[in-house]
């Protein structure tokens, strides 16, 4: 059974695109067939984070409008053959993304892949609603700060009302992914704690991804962090989150660095 997963947040810049790439790659690295779909029309970035920007020919709107076949628009990852990306249009009009067209493309993607992961644009408008409409599952990316938590709450409301599942009287399976978490600041009580956020949003926790320079380095070189730095803390958090998405029951822990002398000696900057 294929699953459609939306990665959403309401608030911008919290780590949706980073998480789409990392979770998509982690699921693909476990052998499942995965496509990551960029819904951020006009501001596409998933191609850059995945290192596919030089290979984009057609995009989601071309497929929706029938200018290209789906198979012609999909770009297969060079490092992981079970991972593909469907880019967003950089220039075309957002309104070109019709609901019927998107529905047709989503059906076609479901047939080809085990996981269809949709990277939502920020906001709560049409673009975000189109990205979530077909979702069976949602990853709500939240930073431990007040405005992000508030926006996540609004997105949860939309997931419960404006999706196909909701219209059919069912529920989208929702998971909270806490990103850019700084354990030191949390210890000093300068940041909302994991428990605080969970208590307010009351949806199950998928993982805690720490603030880490490995995320930035990976996006510089154009690779999901799970491919570029698979042993780094954020990558480990994403690998575990991917296993939970696949149905494994794993305890969520706050990621901490355990570095030995040898790690320190051989650690090189990338």
């Amino acid at each position: 059974m294929s699953k459609v997963l939306v990665v959403t947040s309401g608030k911008g810049g919290v780590g949706k695109t980073t998480s789409t790439a990392a979770l998509g790659a982690a699921l693909a690295q476990s052998g499942q067939n995965v496509v990551v779909v960029d819904f951020d029309v006009g501001l596409r970035n998933l191609d850059l984070v995945m290192g596919a920007e030089r290979r984009v020919v057609f995009d989601l709107i071309n497929v929706v409008q029938g200018d290209a076949r789906l198979s012609q628009a999909l770009i297969r990852d060079k490092r992981c053959e079970t991972l593909s990306i469907l880019p967003a249009s950089q220039t075309r009009d957002k309104d070109a993304l019709t609901s019927e067209g998107v529905a047709r493309v989503m059906d076609e993607l479901r047939e080809k892949f085990d996981w269809v992961i949709c990277d939502s644009p920020a906001g709560i408008e049409r673009g975000a609603q189109l990205a979530m409409y077909h979702a069976d599952m949602a990853v709500i990316v939240t930073n431990p700060e007040v405005s992000s938590v508030r926006d996540s709450d609004r997105i949860i409301g939309l997931l419960d009302s404006k999706t196909k599942k909701a219209e059919q009287g069912e529920k989208v399976d929702k998971h909270l992914l806490l990103t850019r978490y700084d354990p030191a600041r949390a210890a000093r009580k300068e940041m909302l704690s994991v428990e605080d956020v969970l208590e307010i949003l009351s949806i199950p926790l998928l993982g805690i991804v720490p603030e880490s320079e490995d995320v930035l380095k990976s996006s510089n070189v154009g690779a999901p962090v799970t491919l570029a730095a698979p042993t780094s803390l954020p990558a480990r958090a994403y690998f575990e989150a991917a296993r939970r998405l696949s149905g494994e029951k794993l305890e969520v822990s706050v990621p901490v660095e355990k570095r030995g002398f040898l790690d320190w000696l051989f650690k090189r900057d990338a």
């Binding site: 030089r54 290979r55 950089q90």
Partner: protein, 93 residues
């Protein structure tokens, strides 16, 4: 190189990789009417090449793969057309 120099040798900094990638991408996005100009050109080339091929072979659009690789200074355009069995059979017999 000595053992120590080896240990402390650094790989190319990720920021310089980022800069190279951006320069290539933006050069393409800014040139010839921007990225849409470039995709229009690719679409036109694809259409005309397919018309020529269609005069000789019946091709299934789903069996046509189009790839580009934008480089610095030039791009590679690759169109793969799967030629139906009967035709390639006729040629060899």
């Amino acid at each position: 190189m000595s053992f120590l120099a080896n240990i402390f040798a650094r790989r190319q900094q990720s920021s310089s990789v980022a800069k190279d990638r951006l320069q290539i991408l933006l050069a393409h996005e800014r040139s010839a009417g921007g990225e849409s100009g470039e995709s229009d050109l690719i679409r036109q080339l694809h259409k005309e090449i397919m018309e020529v091929i269609a005069r000789h072979v019946a091709v299934d659009q789903d069996k046509v793969q189009i790839k580009v690789d934008r480089g610095s200074g030039c791009s590679m355009l690759e169109i793969d057309v799967e030629v139906p069995q009967e035709l390639s059979g006729k040629r060899t017999s």
